[in-house]
């Protein structure tokens, strides 16, 4: 506060229309006029696009002309444009930390589309809060940390391989971690690829072996990432490398061992359509080109049990004593390329997959038609090994369905079926092929051509999904019952083979990766990008990037494109060699600190040193502090200042919003990573909710101290929401467990002093849960409607005592 008196405050406010995105439901002119009436505001204007060059120019000019020393932009979310405007300020010679944003688009105009009056009032409040905070902002200097010039890539599908090659060619060391015995992913299993009909393995294998040979790439197959700590530029990763029992370097892939191995198992690579031994290689082109023993299948290494392979291997590459290893890696960036699994259609009981032998999935089809597959490329039907004369394809199995499988379009199955129809026609031109579809999605370059070719070849397309598939037990043929929705006629056609065009979904251990890297996933289960359009390959966690299907269903071309993009994004970070970290760490005043040690206890990063016994005051290790603010919320002495998120700044926001009609308002403390982003997502999705809420952003919900909540109630608000990431998804390891404890403490306290504890709500909202955020606010609107004026007055009275 002292600084305020020393320096004359001169604030500029810029209210952005964002075209009609804001101006459509907020009266921006009125908001700008209102801002002009606020204390210390010198300039207040509205403009069409503040982020455009002229918009930014105006800010720069005003800073110079009007000697502005604080800037407030009321526009979109700071998660999108804070860096832009900070830069603008810096270019005009103003410390970027003297900039503040009011989110009147994602949190206001977009979510109150049809209520211009209340949206405008809310926007004024948000600007008032921003100005109040801006008045207390202080210049900060950002620290620089070094970036380790090594990268980790999780997942060795075509996307992971491409990223690895791109980075390795730029001279970065790359660790490529793959859980299967070979890299290659789904593409290795596919026969030909649309739209060009190249042979899949023929174009992939050279890339695989290049990755295998590259001096800068270390391939770790049969391996899993177990733990990730650290932060952008400085990640510490633990990888579990499971024992292979065959020395990768010695094995020449001669295959002598396989010949003598007595154990026969279905080969996972051929989706169980072919067999393998206990010692095996999944497919001929595998990289690393070394055999592997599946110990669950192996009979044992003692000569009486088996030991046949050991005896046979001339290179003595087999070693039963091999142990699982834990490797510790230090990397600067991480690329997630964990890809997809295919959907298992057993639950579509009306299609009889697994009950009827001749109903197969599209992935099984790929193996059957592949020259390297179990039938040597002869498309045969499972029941009698005959070449089918009539084949049906059923689209959208497990996709675009709200009750089973997944609600989204899997993107590749239409084109895949078109490709498959042509493959059949190429080998057996007289085959009758019928395709039952809902819509044909042939949106990419060259796709429509392929679709036309398939039609030209006489493949029949019927719009209508089969209601059921019934087997004729006499000959194992299948009757497909479907409406041709173009004519309304019900068709009952008989086929020799039916291929279910199954959808694709995120790999099943995506949740593990999500937790290790504190990522979010959208409601369809794929990883959520930092911004769907402008930062499509960046994860919200700095230093982490996405490649391939891990981020969403896509074809090979898009996977490869994204993989190169991710590699270049990671390369930019590593090339700079250092990165600035936001100046938002904690500072402890040794004079106020009484060495109680509570801060050190709650710090998830062990970033505070304190000697409780000898009363040595606490001190923050700046390099280790991540700025969550949990310590600040715990310190009973107020000795901890969270830079750029100070108590005073937050109180100023609370006070500003409660100046008028506090009894109608909800204060929501939202953490930057999940719940604030979730509220943004509600905006992006235009999910409507009541306009009573005012959001205050903190980095972590752990920052929200008891006093913030009580201050809000003391100022007469109807309700308070504390919102954070889901437990175990916290971006600061586990700081939100402190949030939970604190809110539970507060509930008890409120109960004790006779305040309805329903008025304080706690919610876990992920960045993808826009609807959940909106629903929470709707629910709370119900609560505040029941809170009476008398009740609020009583609360104020009790708390003031």
């Amino acid at each position: 506060m002292e600084t305020n008196q020393k320096e004359e405050l001169r604030i500029g406010v810029y209210v952005c229309h964002c075209g009609l995105n804001i101006a459509g439901s907020v009266d921006c002119v009125a908001v700008a006029e209102y801002a002009n009436t606020l204390q210390d505001v010198v300039v207040s204007v509205d403009n069409k696009y503040t982020c455009s060059d002229p918009g930014q120019e105006q800010i720069k000019q005003d800073i110079k002309e009007h000697k502005l020393n604080r800037i407030v932009v009321a526009s979109c979310t700071p998660r999108l444009h804070e860096p832009t405007f900070r830069n603008t300020c810096a270019e005009a010679g103003l410390n970027p930390y003297l900039f503040e944003m009011a989110n009147i688009r994602d949190h206001c105009s977009w979510v109150h589309l049809h209520d211009k009056k209340n949206a405008t009032e809310k926007a004024k409040d948000l600007v008032k809060m921003a100005v109040a905070r801006a008045r207390l902002l202080q210049p900060q200097i950002e620290a620089e940390v070094p970036v380790t010039k090594r990268a980790l890539i999780i997942g060795g599908g075509v996307a992971g391989i491409q990223s690895a090659l791109d980075l390795a060619d730029q001279n970065y060391q790359v660790y490529l971690v793959e859980k299967e015995p070979s890299i290659g992913g789904k593409m290795a299993q596919i026969d030909k690829t649309f739209p060009t009909m190249d042979c899949s393995i023929c174009i992939l294998a050279p890339k695989m072996s290049e990755a295998g040979r590259h001096p800068n790439i270390t391939i770790l197959t049969n391996s899993l990432v177990q733990d990730v700590t650290g932060y952008v530029g400085n990640f510490n990763v633990k990888v579990l490398k499971k024992a292979r029992y065959v020395n990768e370097k010695e094995c020449t892939a001669c295959g002598d061992c396989t010949e003598v191995c007595p154990v026969v198992r279905p080969n996972e690579f051929d989706v169980g359509l072919a067999i393998r031994k206990a010692i095996y290689t999944p497919f001929a082109q595998a990289v690393p080109s070394a055999y592997i023993i599946n110990m669950d299948d192996c009979l044992g290494d003692v000569p009486i049990a088996c030991n046949k392979c050991v005896e046979k291997c001339e290179k003595q590459a087999i070693n039963f004593d091999m142990q699982d290893e834990i490797l510790e890696l230090e990397v600067g960036t991480i690329i997630v390329a964990t890809g997809i699994d295919v959907y298992d259609p057993t639950e579509y009981t009306e299609y009889g997959y697994r009950r009827f032998e001749n109903v197969i999935t599209s992935l099984e089809f790929e193996r059957l038609i592949n020259a390297g597959g179990p039938s040597g490329g002869h498309l045969i039907r499972p029941s009698d090994k005959e070449i089918p004369k009539k084949v049906a394809f059923v689209q959208c199995v497990g996709s675009r369905c709200t009750t089973r499988g997944n609600p989204y379009c899997s993107n590749v199955c239409c084109m895949n079926t078109i490709k498959d129809s042509l493959l059949i026609k190429e080998h057996w031109p007289n085959t009758d092929i019928e395709i039952f579809y809902l819509d044909i999605r042939a949106y990419g370059k060259g796709f429509e051509d392929l679709y036309q070719r398939s039609r030209d070849e006489g493949v029949k397309y019927f719009r209508g999904l089969p209601a059921e598939i019934i087997e004729n037990p006499m000959n194992n043929n299948l009757v497909v019952v479907a409406e041709n929705t173009n004519t309304g006629e019900i068709m009952e056609h008989e086929f020799d083979l039916v291929v279910l065009s199954v959808g694709i979904q995120p790999t099943k251990d995506s949740d593990v990766i999500q937790r290790l890297l504190t990522l979010s996933r959208t409601k369809d289960g794929f990883f959520m990008e930092s911004h769907p359009k402008l930062k499509p390959v960046d994860a919200p966690t700095q230093g982490v990037f996405f490649a391939g299907c891990a981020e969403g269903p896509k074809d090979i071309k898009d996977s490869v494109t994204q993989a190169s993009a991710a590699a270049s994004r990671a390369g930019i970070l590593m090339n700079a060699g250092k990165i600035r970290v936001e100046a938002i760490t904690s500072k402890i005043d040794p004079d106020l600190c009484n060495s109680c040690g509570r801060c050190a206890k709650v710090c998830p990063y062990h970033a505070i040193q304190v000697d409780v016994k000898n009363k040595v005051p606490a001190e923050t290790i700046e390099a280790a502090c991540a700025g969550c603010g949990t310590c600040g919320a715990e310190c009973p002495k107020g000795a901890i200042t969270m830079q750029h998120f100070t108590d005073e700044q937050i109180y100023a926001q609370i006070d500003a919003l409660t100046q008028e009609n506090a009894h109608e308002k909800i204060v929501a403390f939202c953490c930057n990573w999940c719940s604030y982003a979730g509220a943004d997502f509600a905006g992006v999705s235009r999910i409507q909710y009541p306009p009573n809420v005012r959001i205050i952003r903190t980095m972590c919900s752990g920052r929200v101290s008891e006093d913030f909540v009580l201050r809000a109630f003391k100022r007469g608000v109807a309700a308070v929401l504390v919102a954070g990431c889901h437990l175990n998804d916290c971006h600061y390891i586990d700081a939100n467990y402190q949030t939970k404890k604190r809110v539970e403490r507060l509930w008890k306290k409120l109960d004790k002093i006779g305040i309805n504890k329903e008025r304080l709500q706690l919610a876990w909202v992920s960045a993808a849960e826009g609807e959940k955020f909106a629903e929470t606010i709707r629910k709370m609107k119900g609560i505040i409607d029941k809170v009476t004026q008398a009740e609020i007055e009583k609360t104020v009275e009790v708390l003031e005592r």
Binding site: E347, N472, P473, E489, I490
Partner: protein, 474 residues
């Protein structure tokens, strides 16, 4: 927002608006129409998703149309819809609104259509259309049926074509008989029981269908010139193979699924422990004395639910259902489930009985809790007992309703069966592995619905007709 939605939002007709909203989500994929028995019976007139289309386009017109009256609530389409639209429920709600707005006019038209297609349309309507759910009492029903102007028309009045034998006089047998007769065949139906009607006669509770009406309808069928021989059991009174010697050129097997599955546990032979059909028959024939206080049903299908509601009607104070898997796997239709729960029946999920306790009289059931393991071939997760989780529930009457299977000992080996004991058929012609022998209804599916049985019978009739036409040519 479309015009329709907007209009109804403003009118405050919440229920209709909700239905319109559901209709908006329909993708017109056709998964509902494909297997629908009513589409099969009325291909020119009915298509469920087109009704939804109409509802989106013009709700008033849809409400005033007869299309909303076709659905026979078989629930075959329901869990297939990718948008989770519960069509029979949508139609039920639309009908309630339409009745209020437009009266019974369209219902009459439907009855006429049904009459023209199914001679025993009254039975069909009473069983499938749940008149009680649209608040139609006896008086309204009588007036509806009385006024029906239609007639089931025979194409060829004298029976000049081949002789055909039908085994079983349930919905499938009766419908096949009529359709064959319509085409001019000489039809004889063999029924092992005293009365014809199959499931209509035996198992549909008296309060939903009085036996008097069943008898009337059977007479109607007979009046078409169809011979129904009751008290004749094929395999005992007449051997299956002698049917051909007696001059029947083709046989339709529609003997249903009447063999109740047993739990095979201790105490199952106590007099107060019945099978589903024993209970339904006993209650139907009035032998059943007031049902006791604590009544337990074991099983999760529609039959189990029906028994649970009947038990309440017959005086049980407390009724509960034991089902060994979870709510996600339960085979009962969602509407049946909702209904029993509304009536206060408690469903215990993931519980399986171990033995019935009692010396001469049932006192209780020892049960064990189950957890769900890996999915089996049906895609449902297999239940496995949880160790030492045994407990006892009191019961003074119990019904085991865990499924019914066809009893097919009377068939020759040429008629091949599926692994689950049903008859193998060619799904297009409904012909079995024995030439000239066809099958339909519960014998091919295990227990399903009346509407589906009729559809199967219709298909079989086409199959038999085709078979005999070719035979004539040869």
């Amino acid at each position: 927002m479309s015009k329709a939605e907007f209009k109804y939002e403003n009118q405050g007709n919440g229920e209709l608006q909700d239905l319109i909203k559901q209709a908006f989500t329909c993708l017109a994929c056709g998964k509902c129409s494909g297997g629908c028995p009513m589409v099969y019976l009325f291909p020119e007139q009915y298509n469920p998703h087109k009704v939804l289309d109409k509802l989106v386009e013009n709700p008033e017109e849809a409400l005033a149309s007869k299309e909303i009256w076709f659905c026979a609530s078989c629930y075959k389409c329901h869990n297939k819809c990718p948008q989770g639209i519960e069509l029979p429920e949508v139609f039920l709600k639309l009908r309630r609104i339409a009745l209020k707005q437009n009266g019974m006019g369209n219902l009459r038209v439907l009855i006429d259509d049904l009459h023209g297609r199914i001679p025993f349309y009254k039975l069909f309507f009473r069983v499938c259309y749940h008149p009680e759910k649209i608040h139609l009492g006896k008086v309204e029903l009588d007036s509806l049926f009385e006024k029906s102007a239609s007639e089931y028309k025979l194409e060829q009045i004298p029976s000049t074509r081949e002789k055909i034998a039908i085994i079983g006089s349930g919905p499938a047998g009766l419908f096949a008989a009529c359709e064959l007769r319509r085409k001019g065949y000489q039809v004889t139906v063999f029924e092992s029981r005293q009365k014809a009607g199959g499931m209509f006669q035996l198992t549909i509770p008296e309060f939903r269908l009085e036996s008097e009406i069943v008898d009337q309808n059977i007479d109607l069928v007979k009046s078409l010139g169809i011979e129904i021989k009751t008290n004749v059991r094929i395999g005992k009174d007449i051997l299956f193979n002698t049917l051909f010697e007696d001059g029947f050129q083709s046989v339709f097997i529609a003997s249903g699924a009447h063999r109740c599955l047993h739990l095979n546990i201790e105490g199952e032979n106590l007099p107060q422990v019945m099978t589903s059909l024993e209970f339904l028959e006993a209650s139907k024939s009035g032998i059943l004395k007031a049902v006791k206080n604590k009544f337990v049903v074991i099983g999760g299908g529609n039959t189990a639910m029906e028994i649970a509601t009947s038990a309440l009607r017959y005086g049980a104070k407390e009724v509960c259902v034991l089902y060994r898997r979870s709510k996600d796997e339960i085979p009962a239709d969602i509407n049946e489930l909702r209904e029993v729960e509304e009536h206060g029946v408690k469903i215990h999920y993931q519980v399986s009985p171990l033995r019935f306790i009692g010396d001469e009289k049932l006192r209780g059931i020892e049960c064990i809790k189950m957890e769900l393991g890996h999915p089996d071939l049906s895609g449902r997760r297999r239940p496995v007992p949880i160790k030492a989780s045994n407990f006892i529930i009191n019961a003074d009457m119990a019904v085991v309703a865990i499924g019914e299977k066809p009893d097919l000992g009377y068939l020759p080996d040429e008629v091949k069966l599926n692994k689950n004991g049903t008859i193998s058929i060619n799904p297009l012609s409904m012909e079995t592995s024995m030439k000239g022998v066809f099958a339909g209804g519960d014998v091919i599916w295990g227990s399903a619905s009346v509407a589906e049985a009729i559809m199967a019978a219709g298909r079989a009739v086409d199959g038999m007709d085709q078979y005999l036409i070719e035979k004539r040519k040869a």
